[in-house]
Symmetry: none
Subunit: 402 residues, 2 copies
Amino acid sequence: MKASILTIGDELLAGITLDSNATWIGRKLMDLGIKTVHKLTVPDDTTEIVEAFKLSQEKGDITICTGGLGPTNDDITLKSFCEYTGSELQFDEDYYGRLINEFERRGYKMSETNRNQALIPDKGQIIPNPKGSARGVQFEKDGKTLFILPGVPGEMKTMMEETILPYLESLDKDNYHVINLRTTGLIESALFEMVSDLVENSEMAIAFIPGFTGVDIRLTTMDETELFELVNVLYDRIGNYIYAENWDPLEKAVGLILSQVSLTIAVAESCTGGLLADRITNNPGSSNYFFGGAVTYSNESKMNILGVKKATLEKHGAVSSEVAEQMAKGVRKKFKSDIGVGITGIAGPTGGSKEKPVGLTFIGLDVNGEVKVKKAVFTNDRRYNKELAVQSALNLVRIALL
Amino acid sequence: MKASILTIGDELLAGITLDSNATWIGRKLMDLGIKTVHKLTVPDDTTEIVEAFKLSQEKGDITICTGGLGPTNDDITLKSFCEYTGSELQFDEDYYGRLINEFERRGYKMSETNRNQALIPDKGQIIPNPKGSARGVQFEKDGKTLFILPGVPGEMKTMMEETILPYLESLDKDNYHVINLRTTGLIESALFEMVSDLVENSEMAIAFIPGFTGVDIRLTTMDETELFELVNVLYDRIGNYIYAENWDPLEKAVGLILSQVSLTIAVAESCTGGLLADRITNNPGSSNYFFGGAVTYSNESKMNILGVKKATLEKHGAVSSEVAEQMAKGVRKKFKSDIGVGITGIAGPTGGSKEKPVGLTFIGLDVNGEVKVKKAVFTNDRRYNKELAVQSALNLVRIALL
């Protein structure tokens, strides 16, 4: 079973609104083993919407369409649906009465514009909306199904979860099985080469999805046994680079390991400016293992808070292996944690030199007194360097504890 | 001039990756007065990609296509481009040599797979990629232009900013003029009410775009004089809420003010876990005014590093106005800065009580010894609470210095 996603609205095209609906829907469908093969966004224009209905239904067995169901004059999805299917809008007196009651209950006077929310096409079934006034439509023809939902994320999600997903799950269909392996520490091409024979000899759909701080390997197949076999082989080959299955971020994997081994952590950051602490504390419950951090941007704060030695700063400079080491040791001591991390580098875009280019970064790690320092040269971009350094630091902690 | 956006990749359809590229591109085009009328995502499949090139070019005068330019076997955009245009891939020996050098410089051995990055079609012009190995293509035919870029956001954005946007700006076309006013501190309806008469009496397209940490007001018109007049009136009415024009983030506005008044800042964070320091240090040159920060997650670190009093913690709890005040004072003293900020709150999802619910946050501000504390109750979502608290803290600093 293949799916099309169709989202309607000028605001999506102009980049005013991030189209997170389509992402959410694609993921939910994939979880049911339904592959999305087409995703289209068109403006609030009847001709374009009708054409989009047609194209979307050609591509997918099911089409999920969101947006343009509101009460104002630029909401023309139902009108377009009528043109597409040859149906007519009818006024639902009963629903209108219920709407008025609902508005009163919530202490609002219902405006005349909202009368439009009681209009519904005479073809297709109504999809109830427990969270708002705009109802959806389900329309079947020639073995294909079109679902129309409002674009308000909370309403759309509730209607998907309460009506559409249970319906799709109940259908008799061949399911895909999907596993996503999240890796970090190797670039796409290097990772690919370690497993290229497996990829080339497998009938499975294997996608390498490079992200900025790692590569996801996604395996999709109808054959669950074959899937688990290949996953096992991949763990044998590149297990050290795999930090999670499915969608968990690295800080969650690290948090899990820290909890399992009952170790605590504190971090000292220069060039990453607090991003490492921010990532760690995105994980609920991180207060159980994260004692805190110091963002020591100035040399003085490195000495004053972390006890980095003046002589070291003068001899080797703030961006040096020696300073990263003293930062890791110092923050561990200061916060009385088991593990200390220290990051110092040149984030850019300026401040680089020939010996110490922008992107040069040292990451110190002190695990119960055992200290090591990793050196890396990242990019010319400030934000990238912060993200890469943080990912690298989290991975250093993960590997040290494996 | 109308634009199509075409994004390629199974991962976008399956909802693995949020299609933020399309949003970013739509916004940048709108800034140039170019309207996006079609946005399509198709899988890594040559037939589908070729068909999508055709449809996108039918709808738009320009088409911006991203994705599928990597070195692995599922990267087939250039192959599809060749089929679409009747061109052939050629091996660029010179570029290959440069790639090898670049890999060496960064300490990697270049893998064989990356040879593919030196393949380039014999039709169209090359768009250089200063941030990665995958180059883009610009192809003109019958008055329509197709741009192909990599899907990695940082690479795509740099190539747009350095090559494509300047090119589009140089074209002779009827331009929209757009100004985006960024506000924070008021919800959409309150902001709207302060200027509703202006909005209703203007022929200009005025959009209120509520974001998570503020509302953007976007004005679009062909009449530049009228635009500047309205902007001036808006500044008179709601100037205190406007922190920037166009897309600059709040930390940039705050950095600018700090530089102008020559004041330095240090921050102490509990519930925001380093995000405030991270935001501040995203701004290049922030080391001129940012001395550093302390992420004091535990009570002990609040006492130990910031000098928060044990009695205060015991009497009022870590999430209290009194502790926020002591954190702000303490971090200012510790880092010897002019301004100190202290944030303490309950990020959630757990840890709330009836008196102190999840989302409760106190933000202390110490400007040269003058101290105030702001109290807020945000949401039930951990990440949202972090972002809202940080935005609120930055705005507190901005307003104190106005």
